[in-house]
C-alpha cells in the first residue's frame, strides 16, 4: 500500500513564525503536491514537484515556498505565518505521467494565532 505521511496532525503557531510542514512518501513517486483545504473552497493547489529540486507554482503559491531535496520528501514552508493561513494542509504523491491518481497524506491542521 502507498503510504504518505505528514509530520504533524495538528500544529499551532504564532503570527510571524516560520513554519515547516513535512511530507514523506514511500512509493518512489516522482510527483508530489501540496494542497490546502478550506470549507466551501475545496482543494486548492499550492505547489507541486515533478522531480527532485524541481518545483512549480500551483493556484495559490503566495506566502508559501517548497523544498524537495530528496525524492521521497516534499516540504512546505510558510516564511512568515499569518492568520489567513490557518487551514488543513494536505500532501499528495503520484507516479509520473499525466493524470495519474494521487495518494494523500492524513493532513496537518494548522492554526495560526
Amino acid at each position: 500500500d502507498v503510504k504518505v505521511t505528514q509530520s504533524s496532525r495538528y500544529l499551532v503557531k504564532r503570527t510571524g513564525e516560520k513554519v515547516f510542514l513535512e511530507c514523506v512518501q514511500d512509493m518512489d513517486h516522482e510527483n508530489m503536491f501540496w494542497y490546502r483545504q478550506d470549507p466551501g473552497l475545496g482543494l486548492r493547489l499550492i505547489y507541486f514537484s515533478y522531480d527532485v529540486k524541481m518545483k512549480e507554482k500551483g493556484d495559490i503559491p503566495e506566502g508559501y515556498s517548497v523544498s524537495r531535496e530528496k525524492k521521497e520528501r516534499f516540504s512546505l514552508i510558510l516564511e512568515s505565518a499569518s492568520t489567513n493561513q490557518t487551514s488543513m494542509y494536505l500532501c499528495a504523491s503520484s507516479w509520473s505521467g499525466g493524470g495519474r491518481e494521487q495518494y494523500f497524506g492524513p493532513g496537518t491542521r494548522l492554526t495560526v494565532t
Binding site: 466551501g40 482543494l43 499525466g98 494521487q102 494523500f104
Partner: protein
Amino acid sequence: GQQVMQIPQYQHVQEGEDFTTYCNSSTTLSNIQWYKQRPGGHPVFLIQLVKSGEVKKQKRLTFQFGEAKKNSSLHITATQTTDVGTYFCAGWARMNYGGSQGNLIFGKGTKLSVKP
C-alpha cells in the same frame, strides 16, 4: 482558466435512497477521477475514467464520463451510513498536445449525509 464545477454542494438523504453528484468542466478532459473523503479523513482515490461515454461500477457506485468528455457523474444506489463523506471529482487536461504536463483540477466536492 480551467474550472471544474460540482453540484450539489450538499446532499442529505434517508438511508436507502439514491444519491447523485455531477461534475462539469469548462474544457475537454483527458480523464476524470473520483475521490472520497470521510469525515476527519483525507481524500482517497476511487476510480478513473478515460474514454468518452465510459461507465464503470463499483458495487453500489456507478461512474459515468460524458460523450464530450466534459462532464461526469457518480451515482450511489441505496445509500448506507458508510457512504457518508465528501465526494470530489478531479479532471485532468493536458497543457500541450502530446505532452504529459497538465493540471488535475478538483471540484469543490459534494458532502453527503445519510440519515439512518
